[in-house]
């Protein structure tokens, strides 16, 4: 029989999830990382979040840095509350006690302070210093064991902060219930902050690296989506309805509209009309069926002028609140943060029509591209389960090339429907064509048609006979 250990929230977004549900009451953890990795912010954020839940925190340091300087730095963060100092969060230095009386005196002092303060969270900053002071590994092991057993006896959870790398054969490592490691590394030219739960006793933590960021709000952890949403948050439902694509004549090719709750990939080279096709889809948004443009390339104003030029009515949806546009500049993004932002917006606004323009924005944010397949699988599974009908664009790299390639083979199979847009050469000019390659579980018309942008918005129509009869005239992007 499994028993759930009582836990409490760290108060850090995303951290509870990777710990398997928060910190265990009365357990002890090592929080390690190089200077600047974020240990102090993580521990203080947990401390101040604990205080808002009625806990008392004892913060014991062995550092040379003065507490005043620490408070100045923490004062720039939203969670820090000066008024709690000395009452609910108490910072004490035991450096002199360690120097003059040794480790065992520090243990005695901590024991007394925990009960004096009625602390249920102890942060001990400077395990490295304790180690330097110890004559042997045994002393540190004894020290850690004593502090944690004193704390556990009082029902107090302990965070030991250390800048040294506590390896798996370190005595401390074997003693504590959990080890959290913070990393701040350079990957290429970019700095990447990641957190890893290296040891977690008695709980299902989410393994591997998870990116985090530090802003004025403090730390936010973004658990890797494919682990956090290994299963969709709600069960998938059978959906049989369809919604309008917004492009005249196209619903027929799809076998009666875009299947509700499906994910459709619209792919093609630059300039084939992917975004325009997507905007037409969004123009069908209504207050009952709200739409969202989640894009990377064009700003709201650019999208609006594009829509106006193509006679696609976005204004109606935008003014009624049925439609909104979120632009994520394609600068340095965090892959999972993007996904959580998307899912939060979709859930909180009850979005039914979603355009992701395009998946390349996620791809560019990936520090470890091989995980993209699993990432997109969890993202699209969740979108389906929520019941949102999604159009996602993917730009093919080769504007002119020998073959048409599916963007990523596994990704194509993760998507329900595939729509291909192409530039087809006909004599001296190009035609935009559209064809449906796949609609999940439904008959569709695989015919190639022209995609036109005339007055009245986008429409498909049959290809003139001279074009379809001259496949030899077509260049790469058109050739199947």
């Amino acid at each position: 029989m499994t028993k759930n250990l009582p836990r409490f929230s760290t108060g850090i977004p995303g951290l509870d999830a990777i710990l398997g549900g928060g910190l265990i009451e009365g357990a002890s953890y090592i929080l390690q990382g190089h200077p600047g990795a974020g240990k102090t912010i993580v521990s203080n954020q947990i401390a101040f979040a604990s205080v808002t839940r009625g806990r008392k925190v004892l913060y014991v340091t062995l550092l040379a840095e003065t507490h005043e300087r620490l408070f100045q730095a923490l004062g720039t963060l939203d969670f820090f509350d000066y008024d709690q100092l000395g009452t609910n969060v108490t910072y004490v230095s035991v450096f002199q006690t360690l120097r003059d009386e040794g480790l065992s005196a520090v243990v005695r002092l901590i024991r007394e302070e925990i009960s004096r303060q009625e602390a249920t969270l102890l942060v001990f900053d400077g395990l490295l210093n304790a180690r330097d002071r110890a004559d042997s590994d045994l002393d540190v092991k004894t020290f850690v064991a004593e502090v944690q057993s004193q704390a556990a006896f009082a029902g107090c959870t302990v965070l030991f902060l250390t800048s040294t790398r506590v390896t798996e054969d370190s005595p401390e490592y074997t003693m504590v219930d959990g080890v959290l490691e913070l990393h701040d590394e350079l990957i290429g030219v970019r700095s990447v902050r990641r957190i890893q739960v290296k040891k977690s006793r008695g709980s299902g933590s989410l393994g591997g690296y998870h990116q985090f960021e530090i802003t004025s709000k403090g730390v936010t952890v973004f658990p890797r989506l494919e682990l956090a949403l290994a299963e969709p948050s709600i069960p998938d439902q059978e959906r049989t309805g369809s919604i309008r694509s917004g492009t005249a004549g196209f619903d027929r090719l799809l076998g009666g509209g875009v299947p509700e709750g499906s994910v459709t990939l619209v792919f093609g080279p630059s300039g084939t009309g992917k975004t325009s096709f997507g905007l037409a889809f969004l123009s069908e948004a209504t207050p009952e069926e709200p739409g969202l443009h989640f894009g990377f390339y064009e700003t709201r104003n650019r999208l609006l002028s594009k829509a106006r030029a193509l006679d696609i009515d976005l204004e109606r949806g935008l003014s009624s609140g049925a439609l909104d546009i979120i632009w994520n500049p394609m600068t340095e993004n965090l892959l999972d943060k993007l996904a959580y932002r998307l899912l939060d917006e979709v859930r909180s606004r009850g979005i039914r029509r979603l355009l992701i323009d395009g998946l390349g924005g996620f791809e560019r944010a990936a520090i470890h591209p091989p995980r993209l397949v699993e990432f997109f699988a969890s993202l699209t599974n969740e979108l389906r389960a929520i019941g949102v009908t999604t159009l996602a664009t993917w730009e093919l790299r080769d504007i002119v090339g020998p073959t048409v390639r599916a963007p990523i083979s596994e990704i194509s199979s993760l998507l329900d429907n595939l729509v291909m847009l192409r530039n087809v050469q006909n004599g001296p000019g190009y035609w935009r064509t559209v064809s449906v390659l796949k609609v999940r579980d439904r008959a569709f018309d695989p015919v190639v048609q022209e995609l036109c942008f005339d007055a009245g918005g986008p429409a498909v129509r049959p290809i003139p006979p001279n074009l379809s009869s001259a496949p030899g005239e077509t260049t790469g992007p058109s050739g199947i």
Partner: protein, 120 residues
């Protein structure tokens, strides 16, 4: 030479404070927390006490209360030097003769010490 007892858990602050006061001609003894400071005061009967607020085992306020409740020690002037708890100190004017917020200027501290010693 007037004797000053410092109660301060942070060794850097204690060291700087001790040097500053010694340079000004005072004799200084430091304790790493309130409880050690109380023992030191009882033993040495100093002319003045400078205390931090947040310290292990006994806070600056608890130290001041202990001194004020002891008739033989209650006349010793006490200066509270604190970052965040200056307001707590000011709320107890009977406990502290002066409250200085960290970071304080050296001159301010020395003038306060001088004034309180003269008054005593």
């Amino acid at each position: 030479m007037p004797l000053i007892v410092i109660a301060e858990d942070e060794f850097l602050i204690a060291d700087v404070l001790a040097m500053m006061l010694e340079d000004a001609g005072y004799t200084v003894m430091a304790a790493p927390h309130g409880r050690a400071a109380l023992a030191l005061v009882r033993e040495k009967r100093p002319d003045l006490v400078i205390t931090d607020f947040m310290m292990p085992l006994m806070t600056g306020l608890e130290l001041a209360r202990a001194l004020r409740s002891d008739a033989s020690l209650s006349a010793i002037p006490i200066i509270l030097v604190s970052g965040a708890q200056g307001s707590i100190g000011r709320a107890h004017p009977d406990m502290f003769d002066a409250v200085l917020d960290k970071p304080y200027h050296q001159d301010t501290l020395l003038k306060t010490v001088e004034r309180l010693l003269r008054a005593a």
